[in-house]
Subunit: 367 residues, 2 copies
């Protein structure tokens, strides 16, 4: 059982080293996936990816796939603030099983004493389900011939609205949950979870990070965002660090108002990009974006362009044109993804990854 | 009306120049899309892409989308051998209209004297439809303030099989069309088309390139390939240059045999890649490829990996792992595309474009 050394300077040398370790071994051993710059390596055991002990629980918990993806990608971003990608290896959660998490995500009843959500109360005015999803991530370092747990990160997704029926099969009612209540319920659950984890012998002494995520409504075109995290060495949470993320859809509806001057200029830049793109073909293209803000500055965009193509040469030309428009109208210094789609699915992609200064372009082909 | 200068050295300087010309102008003018290294710029007129006069004809002519994409991308590759991407601008065909092409693609009858396909003959043993699709590409250069036509490329897709019913609603019968017949019918049609084009005043003196493509069967998992082209200054085709392309699906069926040692080693490299990938998750991944051969050497691969993901972290880790496996097992020096898909569509892409020596990776995200 050998684990390759973790001290990695340049991403490229690293990748070469990992190739040898990560591929081809099939005996009982721990290796890693390798990683590109700024991303974690993942744990492979006996030639297979070490999947989560609660694999699939959160997939079932989210009817809005944006919430699922934003939660998991966002949690990894929180982790990167505490556990450097150069010094730590990522392992899917191994301490909380599906059964444990399903109990925790349920309502507290006599048969489910560990439920983090309140009992239902009366059907005409039920208590909301607050805690919607929980995810565990493990961060490892090499210790002799094996990997040793050096930190745990727990994400907690808290609902911002609750939908219920007063009678079975009756109409849907929705209760808004205030930001103050989201914060309160998230922090209560975090404290309970921290205590429960510290009761386990193997988790007595590792740093435990807990991060709180506000779920977007089920019909939202963007997912929720993380708003606070806490790093703990003991069993009581003493302080929280605020996170200031926001996800919005662009272009904004004409009646949407914002006090942020930066928001307005981002929206107008995007609208210029959209106008430029839409006039390209006689048939109109759909152009929308998810935009993320961190500390009130635009921190990333995912753009989807949908149109009808009549030939591969049209796809090639349109993609070149979109690249030029992106360079002209979209902000520099942040990750940007542009998916170019037809009714047959994705046809091309233009992107600039996090940490990169140049766009990459690929037109999907066929032989 | 201004067209920017065409002499372009480095792709990067070019792209910067084109940005200014290609974007933002809306008055009556001809500009170009800009281009990435090794690709043509396309013509934009009055702010819109100049679409083909026969837009959509070939979309309707191909029930196998691989034939459509392989035909159009392959035709552009033939064009690149004659008209350099640095000196010529690509324009979608402007001389053959939908009506003209639809007549040419029909059978020759008294009401359709220009049909390139033979009359049907008796229903019990009909003559095949040989000519399935035709595409025109125009190659332009700057001349004063406008673009001038400097060459035309015509692609002709010839069927390798013909499916028919003896009675309406009856069972399907299929006739194979031999390679010799494909060649003969393609060359006959090419000569007729060349003569017809030369009869037009505007096409009297431009070089006309005609390229012949053998269509793959409708149920093929790869498209057809170009097998010959001819560059002509007059109205009679005197000689053909052979093109040696082949498209195959990997992994090969176990009963498939090949005399080419290189094919076998390519297949075994791909099988190693596939095995490495498939064992990564407890649930099996589907891994298939389209491989293209030029002059009996592997010249490109499009790989599709399909699996079930349970989290964004699984997608990220799997993508990193695939990158390492690609570097280890897949050949260098040729374009490679790896689509990583789930039932929800594409999740990530790993690719190395033509002319590039390094892989690019993108995991599709959500905010």
């Amino acid at each position: 059982m050998r684990v390759k050394k973790i001290v990695l300077a340049a991403a490229l040398t690293m990748v070469a080293a990992v190739t040898l370790a990560g591929c081809g071994k099939k005996s009982s051993s721990v290796t890693t996936t390798g990683s590109t710059s700024g991303n974690y390596q993942g744990v492979i055991e006996d030639g297979r990816y070490k999947t989560s002990k609660a694999r699939g629980v959160n997939t079932a918990q989210n009817s809005n796939v944006n919430n699922l993806k934003a939660f998991e990608a966002g949690l990894t971003n929180v982790s990167k603030q505490v556990f450097s990608t150069k010094s730590y290896i990522f392992q899917e959660g191994q301490y909380l099983s599906s059964g444990t998490l399903e109990n925790w995500l349920g309502r507290k009843t006599s048969s489910n004493p560990t439920g983090l959500n309140p009992a239902k109360g009366k059907s005409s005015d039920p208590n909301p389900v607050y805690i919607q999803q929980i995810e565990e991530q493990d961060y490892m370092q090499q210790s002799g011939d094996s990997l040793k747990l050096k930190g745990i990160v727990i994400g907690i997704g808290v609902n911002s609205e609750y939908t219920y029926q007063k009678t079975t099969g009756g109409p849907n009612y929705t209760k808004d949950i205030s930001d103050a209540e989201v914060q309160k319920q998230g922090k209560l659950a975090a404290q309970k979870i921290l205590k429960r984890l510290r009761e386990r012998k193997s988790l007595k002494n590792v740093p435990i990070v807990i991060a709180l995520f506000k779920q977007a409504p089920d019909d939202s075109l963007v997912g929720g965002t993380f708003f606070a995290y806490s790093k703990n060495d003991g069993d009581t949470i003493s302080s929280w660090k605020s996170l200031n993320y926001k996800a919005v859809v662009l272009p904004k509806a004409s009646d949407a108002t914002s006090n942020e001057a930066s928001d307005q200029s981002d929206n107008s830049n995007f609208t210029n990009f959209k106008t430029q793109i839409q006039s390209f073909f006689p048939n109109l293209s759909g152009v929308t974006a998810q935009a993320e803000y961190q500390n009130n500055s635009l921190s990333g965009m995912n753009i989807t362009v949908t149109t009808q193509f009549y030939s591969q040469t049209e796809i090639q030309s349109f993609t070149e044109y979109i690249l030029q428009a992106a360079k002209k109208y979209l902000p520099s210094g942040i990750p940007i993804e542009i998916k170019i789609e037809s009714s047959n699915g994705i046809q091309a992609v233009v992107f600039r990854n996090s940490g990169s200064s140049s766009y990459q372009v690929h037109v999907f082909g066929a032989y």
